[in-house]
């Protein structure tokens, strides 16, 4: 069973290491004559993979940080204080994250085409240029637009998980801090957040993977090929650049290396993030 599970991945690795000439000569299922990294070099240099990695990074890093900030604020306010609507607020966030994204895409697309955004120049890193906020005065086809929808959509999920975690923190901590004269912003940042470190680490790992793996938002809300994150870029390379299966394999594997590294290094956080709350509370 384990072998069956690993086989598709193994096969992809195997294909990616074979030059296409070797495959054609000996057949697809055969012992290799030569194995090398030529397919990787080809994809890496000619398909501009590093550029698409960078695009993904520009979207994912601010996305994860902002999501954690917003979600932890909401979770903090909803669990440490009681007011009339805190249950409703939690429900809105949670349910919003469960909607299929396609349900909201049509009006969202319109919003993105009609929201004016300031252009504030760009940051240039060697041959790469990243627009600050916008380069067409819109949310559509912008990094910031993709970051925004990731943040809003995932805040729902993160709020739900973090509030489950924060419920296990006794409210006396918040109360005594209030008695000591700290304001709520300070309590959130220097008292409650440090206590939530395990949950925040778990969420960061999970959110990184969600945003890295996103295909749909970038497919619909981005147009310029030079802004595409790696997942949508890969789809575009299909047919144009990927002339043989071995190149496809190399491209697909390059795209999944970062999440696999994250998974291997932070497996504990990853699994904790997915199961957080199901065993607590």
């Amino acid at each position: 069973m384990v072998a069956v599970w690993l086989f598709p991945l193994f096969w992809a690795v195997y294909s990616s290491l074979r030059p296409i000439s070797d495959t054609i000569q000996r057949g697809y299922v055969s012992w290799p004559g030569t194995l090398n990294f030529d397919n990787y070099t080809t994809v890496w240099t000619q398909a501009e993979i590093p550029y698409y990695y960078l695009n993904t990074l520009v979207i994912v890093v601010p996305g994860v940080i902002l999501t954690l900030l917003l979600a932890s604020m909401v979770a903090f306010c909803c669990t440490q204080f009681s007011w009339k609507f805190n249950l409703i607020v939690l429900m809105l966030f949670t349910a919003g994250n469960l909607l299929p994204p396609q349900v909201i895409i049509v009006p969202l697309y319109w919003i993105y085409l009609h929201t004016p955004i300031a252009m504030l120049g760009s940051i240039d890193i060697s041959k790469f240029s990243f627009a600050l906020f916008s380069d067409n005065n819109l949310l559509y086809d912008q990094y910031i637009g993709i970051i925004l929808i990731h943040v809003v959509f995932q805040t729902g999920f993160a709020t739900f998980v973090l509030s489950n975690y924060m419920k296990t923190i006794t409210k006396e901590i918040t109360e005594s801090a209030l008695v000591d004269g700290a304001n709520v912003l300070r309590i959130w940042w220097s008292v409650v957040l440090p206590l939530c470190r395990p949950a925040l680490a778990a969420m960061a790992t999970l959110l990184f993977t969600f945003m890295y793996n996103d295909f749909f938002w970038a497919l619909i809300l981005l147009k310029s090929s030079d802004k595409r994150p790696i997942t949508t870029a890969l789809n575009n390379l299909q047919g144009q650049f990927f002339v043989d299966n071995n190149l496809v394999a190399a491209g697909a594997l390059l795209a999944c290396i970062p999440p696999i590294i994250v998974y291997i290094l932070l497996q504990k956080h990853f699994v904790a993030g997915l199961t957080l709350g199901s065993t607590k509370g």
Partner: protein, 317 residues
């Protein structure tokens, strides 16, 4: 997309209100303004970009709007979009059926397999950690990559399966992804590769939280392992089972990426999610009509969403 929420823990409104009431008296006006802002900013964004568009989809589904200019009274056409969708549009019922098959496959094949794996791996056997890691590995991959990896198995002349079974040599090629009678199932196998590991990890966490003394007691009473599972463990796991059902349903309704990667959701791989985008964004700008399909998807999704909320937000009073 693996981001359906798998957590449980009922919200303890009762507790929160008791302790919270104390804290409230300590809050200054300044603090109250801060709280309003800390909740208000994210909430406004959520309402603007998630719930606003949801409602807008419902309204637009009654119009013939093409996305240009503003919606006026003349655009409203009543139930015409729905009428056409159910009777005239040849892709709707296939897509609807494919979503149902997707749901049935995940529910009756992939999810039980994931649960079964969890039960197997829950026993303290050697190498269980490694097995867990292996089964979970596909879950971290994007569905785009999963699609590509499986294309390497499925392509007619170059793929592994046809070559390994000698179908290329004998000329009896099976076009796994091109034949509309089988491609949905080929894709479902690929999707399950990811789904099973996801369910396994969720279920495993649930199993770990079952009080071991319950099983011990069942064993002392002479129950077999199968009896223990169905009569003791499964009922205790009821909350987790709800989560699993919800996660499975949501995954089936959200299915989009992998079908889109393979052939843009055509020729046997039509799905509701793909019809929405094809009608209103890519091809025709039939915004009103696409929204009607979105409403159908929304209404179906509300089932699992309400089930999830009612279970997790239930107060433990």
């Amino acid at each position: 997309m693996a981001n359906t929420t798998p957590s449980l823990a009922p919200v303890r409104a009762q507790e929160a209100s008791e302790a919270g009431a104390l804290a409230a008296t300590l809050l200054t006006r300044h603090d109250k303004i801060l709280i309003v802002l800390m909740v208000g900013v994210p909430l406004t964004l959520d309402l603007l970009l998630i719930w606003g568009p949801t409602l807008a989809s419902v309204v637009l589904s009654f119009t013939n709007w093409d996305g240009i200019g503003s919606v006026t009274g003349e655009n409203f056409v009543g139930f015409k979009n729905y009428q056409f969708m159910l009777t005239g549009y040849t892709l709707f019922w296939p897509a609807f059926t494919h979503n149902l098959i997707w749901l049935a496959w995940l529910t009756f094949i992939a999810t039980p397999l994931g649960m079964f794996l969890a039960v197997l791996l829950d026993r303290e056997m050697r190498g269980t950690r490694i097995y867990q890691s292996v089964f979970f590995l596909p879950v971290v991959l994007s569905l785009v990559v999963v699609g590509f990896i499986w294309e390497l198995q499925y392509t007619p002349t170059e793929g592994f399966i046809n070559n390994a079974f000698g179908l290329v040599k004998s000329g009896k090629l099976i076009d796994w992804l091109g034949n509309p009678r089988i491609n949905l199932f080929a894709v479902l196998v690929a999707a399950s590769w990811r789904h099973i590991g996801y369910i396994m990890i969720l279920y495993l966490a649930g199993l770990k939280s079952v009080d071991p003394s319950l099983r011990e007691a069942a064993r002392v009473d002479g129950a077999t392992e199968v009896q223990t599972f169905f009569n003791v463990v499964l009922p205790v796991m009821a909350p987790i089972n709800v989560i699993i059902v919800v996660v499975t349903a949501i995954e089936a309704l959200r299915a989009f990426d992998i079908a889109f990667i393979i052939n843009q959701g055509k020729n046997g791989l039509e799905l509701l999610s793909i019809l929405i985008t094809n009608n209103s964004i890519s091809e025709a700008s039939l915004v009103g009509f696409g929204s009607a399909i979105a409403v159908i998807l929304l209404v179906i999704s509300l089932g699992p969403i309400i089930l999830f909320l009612s279970r997790t937000m239930r107060t433990t009073a």
